[in-house]
């Protein structure tokens, strides 16, 4: 059975995916911010990609670290 065989927690997969997504979105938002690309969305001045990406990095990084598969 899964838990008896020390399977990797689902929260690790979720954390890792969110972490990678966070990096991509943050980098994309930062590029737009620094390159002064014309805004194509409403309230683009909020730079949602930057802070949403940063939040995903923090959330994903924390979950990945907390549920990282370690040998007991």
């Amino acid at each position: 059975m899964y838990s008896e065989q020390g399977g990797v927690s689902i929260w690790f997969f979720i954390g890792a995916l969110m972490f990678v997504y966070g990096i991509l979105i943050f980098a994309s938002g930062l590029f737009e911010l620094l390159s002064n690309t014309p805004q194509t969305v409403v309230f683009g001045g909020l730079h949602a990609a930057v802070w949403w990406g940063a939040l995903l990095i923090v959330f994903g990084g924390s979950a990945s670290y907390r549920f990282f598969p370690r040998k007991s």
Partner: protein, 574 residues
């Protein structure tokens, strides 16, 4: 839970152009999603060796995993896009499908019904009917359910492919085959364990991808009160922001429904039928590691379900306040080259989300479709293998043979679903029939299971004939209105009633017919002795006491908290 008439319309009508274009980072985000869910399937294959592993995820999920999977299996993109569209057309009334149409039933499942499902150690809802009423009731419900699931799965595939075509301009065959093969691979490899893992991941993705729309939308309008004022200004004479105050008459609200239809049809029969007897969702709770977790899972699911209107209904309301164009019905949209109600969520996504965030939002929509499809396929595999193949074809094969059968019929289910998806293209009205067929089965089944669990005098013939007559009467009422539309005044109690109201009342009547027939037949047939009903019926089953647990660990405590929040929310938005 149901497909809205609005989304049915968009699914039945080809669209000429796309709404948005993706950047490289968006495509990368979508590709990573596919790699991760397939990787999870390959990883989990090693843990699915026995029938319990494959069909019930080893019965070792925590209450959180089971609860999130329970609510995610229902939160397909048909739900997301369909109810966002409904919110644009009907306003906050659409929230009833998330609150009174879900929360009481989910709490009832957790507190009252779950002990019987769990203690009986059944693999499925038809399996419970076998234990309680005998083989005929199981065979009837298993066959009907198997047909429903693959049909619904096919509808899911087709809707996703069509939405991707409308939103991104993707080829419809490409979307159908890529999404189907992906779901087929990860469910066939890891069974329900893989489906549950991916559903939890998809649930998180849906929130992360869709949450920005209401957040930025509320910033744009300047808060809830300003949004309400702008909606009233843009739509004079119509009330879009009250839940109950317009339900005193069929003609006072845009949905054409009376509060009795919402409370009795939706809140009682449809909702309780779906959330407590549809094996697609109940199967997720059966994966819980113990009875307390199984009772907590629907309560946790209910608390998340209560929040879903924030990412589904609120974007529809915000669109009423901020969109510079008026969205229209599908037919008018196609003929006049305008945007339809059904495009409201993609439109809001494109309004607020630039590169990266757009990919995340599209991935959330895909995740919704795939979780709904995986839910249907894994439920089909279980019901086919245990309740049809093992019960009627081969009774004494080895456990590994049934696991192998489960894997093969996952592939078979996917292939039938793909066939259904193409069938939907050929026969445009089939989706209307699917929704009707869905309601035929669920409402009477709720009557049968409820009486079976709570009334020990209920007999096998009573259960079977009640289920059969309830289902046939529902089909009969539907056919009557199709042949003679004026019959609507009898079925839905008003000639002003709309499709949605007709569904509610038809469900209510078929449930009443099922209950009456079950009671009458039970009274004239021989009941089973109490000893045979242990673990199956209230009054004959010793449910383990939770008295020794601290208050905060008791499911009933959390159910009361969720119920209190539910009442307060309804009062706030009255």
């Amino acid at each position: 839970m149901t497909i809205t008439p609005l989304l049915l319309a968009v699914l039945q009508t080809p669209q000429p152009s796309r709404l948005m274009s993706l950047h490289t980072v968006d495509v990368l985000i979508i590709l990573i999603y596919f790699v991760v869910i397939l990787g999870i399937g390959f990883y989990l294959k090693r843990f699915t060796k026995t029938g319990d592993d494959f069909f019930l995820a080893g019965r070792q999920m925590t209450s959180w995993i089971a609860g999130l999977s329970f609510v995610a299996a229902n939160l397909g993109s048909l739900e997301l896009m369909g109810w966002a569209a409904a919110a644009y057309q009907y306003g906050i009334l659409a929230t009833h499908w998330y609150w009174i149409g879900a929360i009481p039933a989910m709490l009832f499942l957790g507190i009252v019904m779950m002990p019987f499902y769990y203690i009986s150690k059944t693999h499925s809802v038809p399996g419970y009917l076998k234990l309680r009423f005998g083989e005929p009731a199981r065979a009837l419900s298993a066959v009907t359910f198997a047909v429903m699931t693959v049909l619904m799965s096919g509808v899911n595939i087709y809707s996703m492919a069509l939405v991707m075509k409308v939103v991104l301009g993707w080829n419809i065959n490409f979307s159908i085959w890529v999404s189907s093969i992906t779901v087929g691979i990860y469910v066939a490899l890891g069974g329900l364990l893989s489906a549950v893992f991916n559903e939890v991941l998809q649930f998180v993705l849906i929130w992360v991808g869709a949450l920005l729309i209401p957040i930025i939308g509320l910033i744009e309008v300047g808060g809830w009160n300003n949004m309400v004022a702008r909606i009233a200004q843009n739509n004079p004479g119509q009330n879009y922001t009250h839940l109950w105050s317009t339900l005193g008459s069929f003609s006072d609200n845009p949905m054409g429904i009376h509060w009795t239809g919402i409370v009795l049809g939706l809140g009682w029969v449809i909702s309780f039928g779906y959330w407590t007897t549809d094996f697609l969702v109940v199967q997720r709770v059966l994966t819980a590691k113990d009875l307390r977790s199984a009772k907590m899972a629907p309560i946790i699911g209910a608390s998340f379900k209560m929040m879903v209107p924030f990412i589904v209904i609120l974007p529809g309301l915000l669109a009423l306040a901020v969109l510079p164009v008026k969205l229209v019905g599908e037919t008018q949209a196609v003929s006049a080259g305008m945007h339809s109600y059904n495009e409201v969520l993609p439109l809001m996504l494109a309004r607020y989300c630039g590169p990266g965030l757009l990919g995340l939002g599209i991935t959330a929509l895909m995740a919704g479709f795939m979780s709904g499809m995986a839910g249907n396929v894994s439920a089909f595999a279980t019901v086919w293998t245990y309740d049809i193949y093992r019960a009627l074809v081969r009774k004494d094969a080895s456990d590994s043979h049934y696991v192998s059968m489960g894997r093969w019929c996952t592939i078979l289910g996917i292939l039938i679903s793909i066939g259904t998806a193409y069938g939907v293209m050929q026969f445009k009205s089939i989706m209307d029939y699917v929704q009707a067929l869905f309601s035929f089965f669920i409402a009477p089944l709720f009557g049968t299971v409820l009486l079976g669990m709570l009334w020990k005098r209920c007999t096998g013939p009573g259960g079977f004939w009640g289920l059969l007559c309830g289902t046939l009467s529902s089909i009969g009422m539907w056919a009557w209105v199709k042949l003679d539309p004026s019959a609507l005044r009898y079925i839905a109690l008003s000639p002003d009633a709309r499709d949605m109201a007709e569904n509610m009342y038809r469900a209510l009547w078929s449930w009443i017919i099922c209950v009456v027939i079950t009671v009458v037949v039970s009274m004239v047939t021989q009941p089973r002795p109490d000893a045979e009903l242990r673990g199956l019926v209230y009054g004959c089953t010793e449910v383990p006491s939770e008295g020794h647990l601290p208050l905060h660990q008791r499911p009933i405590f959390w159910a009361c908290i969720v119920a209190a929040v539910f009442v307060v929310l309804n009062i706030i938005f009255w």
